[in-house]
Symmetry: none
Subunit: 198 residues, 4 copies
DNA sequence: TATGAATGAGGGTTCATTCAT
DNA sequence: AATGAATGAACCCTCATTCAT
């Protein structure tokens, strides 16, 4: 039935809001119940427990991201196009689902404490996928070859993440597509051409 | 007495190790007591409670960082020198006190949940101090002027943080000054000149 | 309708199996629902609740036993015949419905915790009925008179129960009528003639 | 310190009383806390949890019983003496610690639900030890040889257990050593010489 | 009659903090 | 200064029962 999916979604989104507000470790199941308007015990019909509910958040984030990366890498986009799509993915997500991005920044992307082997692998895989873009850039002569591709990845993702982090930290909303475009352009431009004056 | 300082230090360092291992929310006072070899209740003679102990960690990190920034900004260093000093500060700290850097990365730099007004201000201040370096770079014609100084800051700190994060995540140690120098050079070079091939 | 009776029976038997497996306190209504193939809520159409369902188990056991005792006491059987019939009743029941006997042994015959006044009375009544057999045995000169009839009852029922208990505990099945006969004979013989060598 | 042992004992005895009253599955830690006058959380300093606390009860019972059996089997007692000692052990225990015996009867000796492999082994071992007494009785010509020793064990332990059970069920106290002696004598006498009139 | 989603009180356990010694 | 026993609120999860369809 459709009701089931709806309820699950309600719980999931309530969890996002609560975690954003209080952090995952202070998020109580009671909070999520109250926030979602769904009775306490019912949550356990939809999710095995707190752990599984929170795991679902990780899963969704990474599935979304890997879905993008798959598209980016399959089709014949140029390297700057590809990087641009990654940037837009983060910014779009932040517009559409700021709580999820917030949680990615604050709970997923860092936090060695919750870092299971599996979660670390998500990261490595994402880094590897980005590496392969950098590799192609170096191979086609578009990116400089005097650095390890992994270092280029660090710089690129570091910049992107920090931009988004800053927005997340001050709860800043992206106002309009213009601003989004400007931010995206800045990240890509400085990554590619550096900060030094010509 | 000197004993007092020693005990405080023992507790503090035990706290760092425990938090690194289990994350701040799973770090129990009992763990810290056992790790430090200092009896349970005695911790409360030295620190008001868990909160204060953890606050101390934040305080030390930021004090160290602001101490550096003060030196960097007072003396007449060039802009690339200054940026280099910031980079070295992170890498040095990571060599000397990897737990503290780990915690900065995983618990301090992110985590909106623990984000008090005060903690947010630490960040803003640090960003502002970095901004002022970028500003001088732009003023003296060393850095390009077609971006907000804040954007340059994002790129620079993002790159730096991501390099360190990656090392933290995989618990990688910096082997020798050579490696440190190479990493530092990479960060600065890509930041300044970008990733595009010439 | 007949359907009603069938469903009731299905629930009842499922309850027996589940209780045997997990014990009454760990037997969940959900287990019984799943085991019986009857939907969750429907159980409550047939039984007021868990308590009533479990009460039914007690009731059936005791009704069966009292039905036997009635027959045993009404007709003109000899004392050893009567005792033999009781023994056979337990052994037959165990062959036919081992779950019910298991539950009698593990949940009914002991367990002061669930011991309502009513349940205690079932016991007393059964003891009394057995007493009356012993009494007749003493009156007719078949059983020794130097012990209270109640003591004879204890020995007899204790032996019987322990034989069955042992089979229940190790989930041992009675293989064929031969074995049943041998066991029955042993119980009665030792009860009557004792263990001492002549 | 001695305090520790005292508290443990207080908790243990409170647990016995509560379990006797409500049965182990309805015995709440809060009950035990209240009954013992020891604060809720402190129980967890002394026992890992409910499970361990209840395990301790089993352990004590069986250790006591095996302690007895060891003494009984080592020294050169006659077979009836040995059986008598077992009988007295149960009756003595019931006088001294009726709750423990109650729990043995209602929660330990039956209840396949809680029956772990380990617990089943306790039983088997006890049966085996009793068997060896019967075996010696048969070997020395004191007990009849036309029954398996295991059957003699069943009869003997069944009688004993049922006597004690009956006392437990009606919460009957043993009044004075006279009564105890009479009961013990009856059990042994009927076991040895049977119920048939001569 | 039939279904299984919905409810929420109940209970075990943890752990920061306090306190007696 | 030092110890670790004592306290109890907090929180996750279970499951008997009810309810809407």
């Amino acid at each position: 039935m459709c009701k089931k999916k709806e309820k699950e979604e309600a719980i999931f989104n309530a969890a996002l809001r609560v975690i954003k507000e209080k952090g995952s470790h202070k998020a109580r199941m009671a909070d999520i119940s109250k926030e979602s308007g769904i009775s306490y015990g019912l949550i356990y019909h939809y999710f095995r427990g707190k752990e599984e509910l929170f795991e679902e958040i990780h899963k969704r984030w990474w599935e979304g991201l890997f879905g993008l990366m798959k598209g980016v890498n399959q089709t014949g986009f140029s390297v700057p196009d590809r990087l641009n799509q990654i940037i837009y993915y983060f910014l779009d997500q932040y517009q559409m689902n700021p709580e999820l991005v917030n949680i990615f920044i604050t709970e997923i992307s860092r936090s060695t404490s919750n870092l299971t082997k599996e979660r670390l692998n998500y990261f490595k895989r994402f880094m590897d996928l980005t590496d392969s873009i950098m590799e192609e850039g170096q191979r086609t002569g578009f990116l400089r070859k005097d650095f390890k591709k992994r270092y280029l990845t660090y710089i690129f993702l570091g910049a992107l993440e920090t931009f988004v982090s800053a927005m997340v930290l001050v709860d800043q909303r992206i106002k309009g597509d213009d601003q989004k475009q400007r931010i995206a352009k800045s990240i890509l431009e400085i990554f590619l051409n550096g900060a030094r004056a010509r």
